[in-house]
C-alpha cells in the first residue's frame, strides 16, 4: 500500500497498525493499573499542596537557616557552594541574602512539627516537588525576572506547564561545574528527554557538534522564552545563525534571496543526511528553485555519477559564493 502517492510502502497494513496501537495502549493501561495498585499515588497519605495546609502555612513565621540545618544538614552542605547561597536579594522577609526560607517560605510551623509527618504543620512549607509549575515559577521569578528569564511568562514552556524544576535541580545539580544547576550534565541531554524527535535528527551524519559537547541546544534556543520564533536567541533565524556565522551576514553586493530571508530554507540545523546539513542533496536542492535552461535544468542521473555538476559539492563546486558575493563579477556566485 502506497502512502499519498509517494511510492513509499509502509511496512505494515493499516489494520495491523491500528491493532499494534490498540495492543500498546491496552498494555500501558494494564500496566498502569498494576503500577497504581502497587504504588498508591505519589502524595498519598501526605498533605502536600492541600488547601487546608496552604491556609495554615500563611500563618507561619521565618525562623532562619540555622533551624533548617539541624535536620537538613546534608542539603545545607550541598547548598553552600551553590550560587544561590548568600546571593543578594533586594527585599525579602527572609533577609537580603538567599537562605532556605527565601524559596521554601517561612518554616516555623514545619519546625514545630519536628519531623512528625502526621502533623499537618509538617506540610506547612513549600515543597517544590508537589507544587504546580506556575507556582514554582512564581517563586523563582521573584528574583529571576530579567535577562534570560524576562520573557518567561510568554514562553512556550510556560504555556505547556514546564516547571523550573523539570530542568533545574537547585540542591543536586549534575551540570558541568554546577553551571545553571541543571538536572543533567548538559542542557542537550535535558532537552531531548521531551524533544526526542530532535535527538533522532542530531544522530544524522551531518550535524552540529551537540552530541560531541561543542555546543548545546541552549546556545541557539532560550528555554525561558525569547522574542524570536521557536524560542531562539535571535529576532529571526538569520539573526541567530549569523551570531556565529557572522561571515554570511552581509549585506552583500550580490544577494541570494533565500540566504538573506531564512537560512533554514536550505539547511536543517538539527541534522541531515546531506553535507553542510543541507535539506536535500545537491544538485536537487538547487534545482528545486532553479530550472532556467542549460545546466540548472539538466537531469543528472546515473550515467553522470562522475560529473562535476553532480558529485563532490555539486553546484557549489563552481558557485562557491552561494551565500552572496561582494565581487563586481559575482552575480552568479562564482567569484
Amino acid at each position: 500500500m502506497n502512502h499519498a502517492g509517494t511510492g513509499r510502502p509502509w511496512p505494515f497494513t493499516r489494520g495491523k497498525r491500528i491493532r499494534a496501537v490498540l495492543v500498546l495502549v491496552a498494555a500501558l493501561g494494564v500496566a498502569g493499573v498494576g503500577a497504581a495498585q502497587a504504588q498508591p499515588g505519589d502524595a498519598a497519605g501526605s498533605l502536600w499542596g492541600s488547601a487546608s495546609v496552604d491556609s495554615l502555612a500563611a500563618t507561619a513565621a521565618y525562623v532562619g537557616m540555622s533551624q533548617c540545618v539541624e535536620c537538613h544538614d546534608t542539603v545545607a552542605d550541598k547548598f553552600e557552594p551553590n550560587p544561590h547561597h548568600n546571593a543578594h536579594v533586594d527585599s525579602h522577609p527572609a533577609g537580603t541574602t538567599v537562605q532556605c526560607e527565601s524559596c521554601h517560605g517561612p518554616g516555623s510551623l514545619h519546625v514545630e512539627a519536628a519531623g512528625d509527618e502526621k502533623d499537618p504543620k509538617f506540610y506547612a512549607i513549600r515543597n517544590f516537588k508537589y507544587m504546580k509549575p506556575s507556582a514554582q515559577a512564581e517563586v523563582c521569578r521573584a528574583c529571576h525576572m530579567n535577562g534570560e528569564q524576562v520573557h518567561w511568562d510568554q514562553s512556550a514552556h510556560a504555556r505547556n506547564d514546564v516547571a523550573c524544576q523539570s530542568c533545574h535541580s537547585i540542591h543536586d545539580a549534575k551540570s558541568e561545574g554546577g553551571k545553571f544547576l541543571l538536572r543533567e550534565a548538559r542542557a542537550t541531554q535535558l532537552c531531548v528527554t521531551c524533544h526526542s524527535d530532535k535527538r533522532t535528527e542530531l544522530a544524522h551524519t551531518a550535524h552540529m557538534p551537540l552530541r560531541e559537547g561543542g555546543m548545546d541546544c541552549s546556545d541557539c534556543h532560550n528555554p525561558h522564552g525569547s522574542i524570536g520564533p521557536h524560542m531562539i536567541r535571535g529576532v529571526s533565524n538569520n539573526d541567530l545563525c549569523t551570531k556565529c556565522h557572522m561571515d554570511k551576514r552581509g549585506p552583500m553586493l550580490w544577494e541570494h534571496p533565500p540566504v538573506r530571508e531564512n537560512c533554514v530554507t536550505c539547511h536543517r540545523p538539527h541534522g541531515s543526511n546531506n553535507d553542510k546539513v543541507l535539506a536535500s542533496k545537491r544538485p536537487f536542492l538547487c534545482q528545486q528553485c532553479h530550472i532556467a535552461s542549460r545546466h540548472p535544468s539538466t537531469l543528472y542521473d546515473r550515467p553522470d555519477l562522475q560529473s562535476n555538476r553532480l558529485f563532490n559539492r555539486s553546484c557549489t563546486n563552481c558557485h562557491t559564493q552561494i551565500h552572496g558575493s561582494n565581487h563586481p563579477s559575482g552575480k552568479t556566485f562564482l567569484r
Partner: protein, 716 residues
C-alpha cells in the same frame, strides 16, 4: 612532547592546588588518565568535532573555594586538547564575574591533497613550468599529453588536511548597582582558522578545487540594564558586533595557462566574505496588569553595515584592458540593512482554568544598500560579458498576528487552540507578498499523575500573490527562467502538521515515552519546482530501574523525509517549454538511531556500565521521466552508518578516589557517490569542449576504531 610537558605541569599544579585545598574549605575533583586508540583508516569522522587523545589526558576538573568573601569556581574538560573547555566564575552577593574559553575543531578530511603550494595566505600557486608546459605543448586539443603531464604532477600532490578550529572566549559581569537595578555586560571573541574545500571555476565545468584559507574573527559585546519595580520589569539592551576576515581574497593559479589571454586567465580571484559591523539597541517590558493579566513587549533595532572595498572586475590582465574602459560604479557596496523587530503579547486568565493570549509580531529586514549597475561581468576571469547588470538588494518583512486560548476544564484535561495570520512581503522577488492563515488545536490528557497523552494538529494555508514574470526575464525581456516555476519558500502552500505523544513516568521501575510527528507541505499551485514534501518521525524512550543495582536506558528514533520536485530540461538560451522535457526527482532521506545504556552497581566498590549506539541514514534518489530520451535513471542509494559499543568498570579505591578502565569500539560505513571515488583529476568529453577539473580527493572512508583507557578520579 610539548603537550606532555604542559600536561605534567598542569597535573603538578593540580596536585599542589589539591593539597592547599585540603587545608582550605575547597572541594572539587580532577579526572585524568591515559589512552591508546587505533583507527583502521584515517577518516576524519572519528574526530569530526573532537580530539581523541593518545597518551596522557585530563578529562575534567572542578574546583570550588570561598575567597575574599565570595566564592570562586573553576571547571573544565579536555585540557590542552583542540576540544578543550575551561570556565570559571566568582560570586559575591551582589555581583558575579564569569569567563569561559572553548575550542571546537571541525575536522573535514585527513586524506585530501593538493597540487597547489600556499605561498602566502590567500595565494595558491602551481609551478610556472607546469603551466607553461601545458600551455605550449599539451594544449587543450591534446588530451593524452595533458592527462599524462597532470597525472605525473598530481602523483606528487602534497597532503593538505581540511578542517578548521573555532576558539571562543566569553566574559560576563552581572551586578546589582541599586535596589531594583541589575546590570549585565557580556563580551565574546570568536576566532576561526583552518582550511575548507572551495571551488574556483575557469569556465563551464572547469573546476579548480582549492583550500579556502580561513582566518576570521568575530567580536560581540552587549550591555543590559534592568529595572524591576513591583509588577514591572523594564530592560534596555545595547549591543555591538564585528566580523573581520583576515584573508579577504583567494588567488589561485590556472594549472593550464601560464599567461593571460582573453579566453583563458592564468589566475582566478575570489572575493572572500567581507568584513561587516552591526550595532543594536532594544528594550523589553514585562508588566503585570493585575486581574491575572500581563503585557509583554519587546522592541529591537539593529543596523548592519558592510563597506569592504571592491576588487576590479577581473585579475586577468588580458581582459583588464577591456574592462578598464568600463570603470566600476563605486568603490564599495555601501551595504546597509536595518532590522526592526516589534513583539507585543497580552495574556489574561479571566478564570483560573482559562487563559487567552493576543500577540503581534513585526520583523523587517530593510535592505538600504544602493542598487548598483555594472557595465558587465567577468564571471570566471576568462571572458567579458558586456551586458549591463544591476544588483538587487533583497529585503523582507513578516507580520504575525495570533490568538491563543488555553482551557483546562479539569486537572486531567487541557485544551489549547491557536489562530494565526502571517503576512510577508519580499522586495525584488518574483512574489511580492503572501498571506498564511493557520489554525492549531492541542489536547493534553493526564488521567494519572504518571501518564500524559498529548495530541496536536496544525493546518496552514498560504496564498501567494500573482507571479511577477519580470523577475524571470532579462533586462531586454527575454525569458531566463521557466514561467511555471514557483520557488517553494514563497509559493502557495497547504501545511498539515500532527504530533502525538504518550509518556509514562514517575512510577518505578518503568518510564516510557512515545512520540510521533507528521509534517506535510503541499505546494498546490506549483507546476514546476518543489511539489510537496513530507516528514515523519517516531521516537521511543525507555528507562527501567528494577532495583538499586540496575539501570537500563534505551532510545530509538526514526525519521523519514520525502521531497518531490518537478523540473524540465532545456539546452537553449530561452528555456524550452515542452512537457515532453519534464523530469521528476523523488528523494527519500531516512535516519534510524538507537542508544542503550546499562548501569550495574555490582558491589559497593564496583560499578559497571555498558553503552551502545547505532545510527544509519540512507538516501534514495528516484528519477523519472515519461518522454525523455534516454529516460531518467535512478541514482544509486547512499547510506552512512555509524555504530559502537563501550564499557567502563569503575572501582572505588578510597572514599575520594576511583579508578576506571574503559574500552570502546566504533565502526563507520559510508556509501555515497557524492563523497567517494573523487579523483584528483577529472577529464571528460572530447576536445575542444573537454572539461578539466581538479579536486582535492577528500573522500569518505570506512573505518573501525578501538580505544582503551585507564582513568583516575580524585575528589578533594
Amino acid at each position: 612532547m610539548r603537550r606532555s610537558m604542559w600536561l605534567a605541569a598542569t597535573l603538578a599544579a593540580g596536585a599542589v592546588l589539591a593539597g592547599w585545598s585540603a587545608a582550605a574549605r575547597a572541594d572539587g575533583y580532577v579526572t585524568g588518565g591515559t589512552q591508546w586508540w587505533y583507527q583502521s583508516q584515517e577518516e576524519a569522522k572519528y574526530q569530526e568535532f573532537r580530539e581523541v587523545p593518545q597518551g596522557l589526558f585530563i578529562e575534567s576538573f572542578l574546583y570550588r573555594n570561598p575567597l575574599l568573601g565570595g566564592r570562586v569556581r573553576a571547571w573544565g574538560s579536555n585540557l590542552l586538547r583542540s576540544d578543550e573547555y575551561i570556565a570559571g566564575d566568582y560570586h559575591k552577593p551582589k555581583w558575579t564575574a564569569e569567563v569561559s574559553y572553548r575550542e571546537t575543531p571541525h575536522n573535514l578530511s585527513f586524506v585530501s591533497s593538493t597540487g597547489f603550494a600556499f605561498h602566502e595566505p590567500g595565494i595558491q600557486v602551481v609551478p610556472d613550468a607546469l603551466q607553461g608546459a601545458i600551455q605550449t605543448n599539451d594544449g587543450p586539443g591534446d588530451s593524452t599529453a595533458f592527462v599524462s603531464t597532470m597525472t605525473d604532477y598530481l602523483n606528487h600532490a602534497r597532503p593538505q588536511d581540511l578542517g578548521f578550529r573555532t576558539d571562543v572566549l566569553k566574559a560576563r559581569l552581572k551586578d546589582r548597582p541599586g535596589a531594583g537595578f541589575r546590570f549585565e555586560i557580556t563580551g565574546s571573541r570568536r576566532n576561526r582558522s583552518g582550511y575548507k574545500a572551495y571551488g574556483g571555476s575557469f569556465g563551464f565545468s572547469n573546476v579548480v578545487e582549492t583550500a579556502e584559507p580561513i582566518r576570521q574573527s568575530m567580536a560581540n559585546g552587549e550591555a543590559r540594564l534592568t529595572y524591576t519595580k513591583k509588577r514591572m520589569t523594564l530592560e534596555g539592551i545595547l549591543g555591538l558586533s564585528a566580523f573581520d576576515n583576515h584573508i579577504s581574497t583567494l588567488i589561485f593559479d590556472n594549472p593550464t595557462r601560464l599567461t593571460d589571454s582573453v579566453a583563458a586567465p592564468s589566475q582566478g580571484r575570489i572575493d572572500l566574505y567581507p568584513d561587516n559591523r552591526q550595532w543594536r539597541a532594544g528594550f523589553n517590558l514585562a508588566y503585570q496588569l493585575g486581574r491575572r493579566s500581563s503585557l509583554d513587549g519587546a522592541f529591537e533595532y539593529a543596523q548592519t553595515k558592510q563597506n569592504d572595498p571592491w576588487l576590479p572586475y577581473t585579475i586577468n590582465s588580458a581582459l583588464f584592458a577591456r574592462t578598464d574602459s568600463f570603470p566600476l560604479p563605486g568603490t564599495n557596496t555601501d551595504g546597509k540593512a536595518n532590522l526592526t523587530t516589534i513583539n507585543l503579547r497580552f495574556t489574561t486568565h479571566p478564570l483560573s482554568r482559562l487563559g487567552a493570549t493576543l500577540r503581534f509580531r513585526d520583523h523587517k529586514y530593510d535592505n538600504k544598500t544602493p542598487e548598483w549597475t555594472f557595465a558587465g561581468q567577468a564571471p570566471f576571469d576568462g571572458s567579458w560579458n558586456g551586458t549591463p547588470v544591476t544588483t538587487e538588494p533583497f529585503g523582507s518583512e513578516q507580520l504575525v498576528s495570533g490568538a491563543d486560548v488555553d482551557w483546562s476544564p479539569t486537572r486531567q484535561v487541557g485544551v489549547y487552540g491557536t489562530v494565526e495570520f502571517t503576512h510577508r512581503e519580499h522586495t525584488f522577488r518574483e512574489i511580492a507578498a503572501d498571506n498564511e492563515l493557520a489554525g492549531e488545536g492541542k489536547i493534553v490528557l493526564r488521567p494519572r499523575t504518571w501518564l500524559t497523552a498529548i495530541g496536536r494538529y496544525r493546518y496552514g494555508d498560504r496564498d501567494a500573490d500573482a507571479l511577477n514574470i519580470e523577475h524571470y526575464q532579462t533586462d531586454t525581456g527575454a525569458l531566463q527562467e521557466q514561467p511555471g516555476l514557483r520557488r517553494f519558500d514563497v509559493a502557495s502552500r497547504i501545511q498539515n502538521l500532527g504530533e502525538a505523544s504518550l509518556s509514562w513516568t514517575g512510577i518505578s521501575p518503568l518510564a516510557l515515552s512515545l512520540n510521533y510527528r507528521y509534517l506535510r507541505n503541499e505546494y498546490h499551485e506549483t507546476p514546476l519546482g518543489l511539489q510537496d514534501d513530507l516528514q515523519r518521525s517516531a521516537a521511543v524512550d525507555l528507562v527501567y530501574s528494577p532495583n538499586d543495582k540496575f539501570d537500563i536506558e534505551g532510545t530509538f528514533g526514526y525519521s523519514w523525509i520525502y521531497t518531490n520536485q518537478a523540473s524540465r530540461t532545456s539546452n537553449t538560451g530561452v528555456p524550452l517549454q515542452a512537457d515532453s522535457l519534464n523530469w521528476r526527482a523523488r528523494l527519500y532521506d531516512e535516519i534510524a538511531s538507537a542508544t542503550g545504556d546499562i548501569g550495574w552497581h555490582a558491589t559497593k566498590k564496583v560499578e559497571v556500565t555498558l553503552s551502545g549506539f547505532y545510527e544509519r541514514s540512507p538516501g534514495t534518489y528516484r528519477l523519472t521521466s515519461t518522454k525523455l530520451t534516454p529516460p531518467a535513471q535512478n541514482l544509486p542509494g547512499t547510506w552512512y552508518r555509524r555504530d559502537g559499543v563501550g564499557t567502563e568498570v569503575r572501582y572505588a579505591l578510597t572514599q575520594v578516589a576511583d579508578v576506571a578502565a574503559r574500552w570502546s569500539w566504533e565502526e563507520y560505513d559510508a556509501n555515497d557517490w557524492a563523497s567517494q571515488d573523487i579523483p584528483l583529476l577529472l577529464v571528460t568529453g572530447a576536445p575542444p569542449r573537454q572539461t578539466r577539473a581538479f579536486f582535492m580527493g577528500d573522500n569518505a572512508l570506512d573505518y573501525v576504531a578501538n580505544a582503551v583507557s585507564l582513568v583516575v578520579t580524585r575528589r578533594f
